[in-house]
């Protein structure tokens, strides 16, 4: 490695619900429980959180997806057990069809793997600019401690040859023992077999070995893993410097594969040395960042993790697919593997329109418009649709059986480029009105026949651009 990879910008996102630990405790064993974790709304998952964080990082860098050479994504559990997870995310972020990268998965260590792989690609010169996204939104096993610990969140970083922060050191240790895990065919992740065994014999020894190495760089701030809500404190006791990841854990819980970078990124809002450790699946990796000044996007991270609507436990179970109505029938007219999806995937994830060469009208989506809806001409050029617009008219559908969730707002939107689309509206919609500004965000439209279906939805623009 000749040139160290630099951090150009960072971003973050969290699930829009918050689950209080006491609500989970009340359902299972009573007892005192403190804190909260971030959870997904029905149209969110690890992929949409990754998209949100990546868009925030790209915006902070002043770049769009087409200037990125590869996507390195780390998540404990990709949305497709086996399938096009990476391709869907890369496409939805606007990365070209020739983009490189990798999907790291299988444990919470995946985030560290993605970061280092991307850094290596930039260092080796095979990618000029790399996008690292780390995200997690696991389904914890019912009744596990993970229900009160594991949170849904994501972080992203744009790496390149220039930027205010450098990755200056790294260290990895392995210890092949069973910690949190999910068996083949199981839907929920399980706690370690013996919490004390895990802590004393696996986690703390490995973490101490790593942090001892990193301490030589005299970090001002640490990002430490906290899988059980107490071990990070135990590790921190022997260290100088502050623990920047504490605020992250308080806001969203243990973000798993996203935790290490999330904790580091939030601390990159000023110059200084930041050390970050990722742990999972019997491996721990420490990384040292040296920031010469604030990294773009870092200061906005607390706001991205803040807030969220406190949701009842039952609602979170419903979203996770752990509470299912009897006889619920969930079948789309068009199977996700069918030709219609194959034809439409790129235009749905683009999202794309077809601009009429004759009259300039943008037809959406292209595949169903061989002739222009305004002038009838048949020559088009594909264009990426604007991600912003305003509401032309709308409805709020109140009569939606499961798997739909009512109230479901739908809006006809005039995009800034003159195209018009009709999409579901996600997020807070109390102020939905004709003329209201909206932005398009990637969300999960359905989860049927075992697979997720993604597309863009409209969200009321906050005005601040956040």
């Amino acid at each position: 490695m000749t040139e160290p990879a630099r951090i150009v910008a960072v971003g973050a996102a969290s699930g829009s619900l918050r689950l209080a630990a006491e609500d989970v405790a009340a359902a299972w064993h009573g007892g005192a429980a403190r804190g909260q974790v971030a959870a997904c709304a029905p149209d969110e998952d690890t992929l949409t959180l990754a998209w949100d964080a990546a868009v925030a990082a790209l915006d902070a860098a002043g770049l769009d997806g087409s200037s990125i050479d590869g996507l390195w994504w780390g998540t404990s559990r990709p949305p497709f057990g086996e399938g096009p997870s990476h391709a869907v995310l890369a496409n939805a972020l606007g990365l070209g069809t020739t983009s490189a990268g990798a999907l790291h998965a299988g444990s919470a260590h995946a985030g560290a793997e993605a970061l280092l792989a991307a850094a290596d690609a930039v260092g080796a010169g095979t990618a000029r600019r790399a996008l690292v996204v780390v995200s997690d939104a696991i389904v914890p096993g019912l009744g596990t401690d993970l229900e009160r610990r594991a949170g849904a969140a994501a972080a992203a970083a744009v790496l390149g040859a220039d930027g205010p922060a450098t990755i200056t050191a790294r260290v990895t240790r392995t210890r092949p023992a069973l910690d949190r895990y999910r068996g083949a065919g199981e839907s929920g992740t399980r706690d370690p077999y013996d919490a004390r065994l895990f802590r004393e014999e696996i986690f703390l020894p490995v973490l101490r070995e790593i942090t001892e190495h990193l301490a030589a760089f005299v970090p001002r701030t640490w990002s430490l893993p906290d899988p059980d809500g107490r071990s990070a404190r135990a590790v921190a006791r022997g260290l100088d410097g502050t623990v920047g990841s504490e605020a992250v854990v308080a806001a969203v819980g243990d973000a798993g594969a996203a935790a290490a970078l999330l904790g580091a990124a939030t601390s990159l809002d000023a110059a200084g040395i930041v050390a970050s450790v990722g742990y999972g699946g019997g491996r721990a990796t420490g990384v040292v960042f040296d920031a010469l000044g604030p990294v773009p996007g870092a200061a906005a991270i607390p706001a991205a993790l803040d807030g969220g609507r406190r949701a009842p436990y039952a609602e979170v179970l419903r979203v996770r697919g752990q509470l299912v109505a009897a006889g619920e029938k969930v079948e789309m007219g068009v199977p996700p593997g069918s030709a219609m999806f194959t034809r439409g995937s790129v235009e749905m994830l683009g999202p794309l329109g077809a601009r009429c060469i004759e009259c300039g009208t943008i037809n959406t989506p292209p595949s169903i418009h061989p002739h222009c809806i305004r002038c009838g001409a048949e020559k088009f050029e594909d264009v990426a649709l604007s991600g912003r617009g305003s509401v032309h008219t709308f409805v709020i559908n109140e009569t939606m059986p499961a798997p739909f969730v009512a109230p479901l707002p739908l809006a006809v939107i005039d995009l800034d480029d003159g195209a018009r689309v009709m999409l579901q509206v996600t997020g807070e919609a109390d102020d939905l009105a004709i003329g209201a500004p909206v932005e398009l965000v990637l969300r999960r439209y359905a989860h049927e026949r075992g697979v997720p279906v993604y597309g863009f939805k409209a969200r009321l623009a906050t005005g601040s651009g956040a």
Partner: protein, 386 residues
Amino acid sequence: MAVVGAGLIEFGELFEQSYEQMAAGAFRAAAGNVDRGFDPTQIDAAFVATQRGTLWGQEGIGGNTVPSAIGLSGIPCTRIENACPSGSDAFRIGAMAVASGVHDVVLVIGVEKMRDKSTEEGLLSRAAAGHPIYTRGETAPVLFAPFATRHMHDFGTTPEMLASVAVKNHHNGTLDPYAHFRNEVTPDQVLGSPMVCEPLRLLDCCPQTDGAAATILVAADRADEFTDQPVWVAGFGVATDHPYLHEKSTFVGLEATTQAAKRAYAMAELESDDIDMAEVHDCFTITELLDIEDLGFVEKGKGGPATLEGETKLGGRLPVNTSGGLLAKGHPIGATGVAQLTECWWQLRGEAGERQVEIRRGNALQHNVGGRGSGVSVVNILTTNA
């Protein structure tokens, strides 16, 4: 072309009747209403309107279902599917078959079984059908509610104006022995009913109804074999518009209706002022307001005030939906247009009982609009003027 017979069965949740039994009931009703009697073997061909053949347990419905059910297996018969105007389009096609000289006596029958599947399954099949993103969540009210939102925004149309459509049509329904709902509703009841799809409430929406209706069309030169009071087909028009809502050029009118009306008026050599009464597509209250504007009965944007002020009630300037409309009589899709034509036929012949309107010029208009994006409309005009 002359209409010499028309009839329908009582609309409702007809759990006890099969598709075939409903068809037979409508056929007997129409044949029984032919003034000089009707021998079924005179039928040269039949056109059957059934819309949701694949979603309502009617997977096997085809051209051969109805002839067998009415004892006429062997006759030529074709099923017509053209969204909500399926019935009115089957009538138009039947009229053209007679006008072409190929057939002298044609049966047009509309049959729809809406309630053999649960309402929830019906909703889901619609909300999850079509394009996986652009139409996901698009239940039937979603096709019309965006027009209400925009109509209210642009013209100041109020919920009270929408409610006045439901109040009027429910009143008319109390006078129609074939109507699904035969109870009055008050403005407060409409405005207090549950929100279905904002801004439309439950009583802004038509019900899910089973039903069947039939008409008998004959060549003009044979009309007097059947009746001395024929009703003539004066004209018809069909038009299409883009099928997705985001492709609409306007959300304060339905282009398909405007175009279909223009064609029908031109063929009939009539204007909107020449119409004595109309049966129009009121699947939702907003739809009737759009219809009466698009059909030229009132100025664009004035549908709400005109209805609130009673211009379209029984005894008003131009009575609309005297049968109770889709809102009260019901909307068994394939049967709807044919049932509306039956109401027009009765009104023109002075046989509409308590809901009889004054026929001064001898012209009645029937209209449907629907399909994805309300992209298909059919207008038929009947007349007593030879």
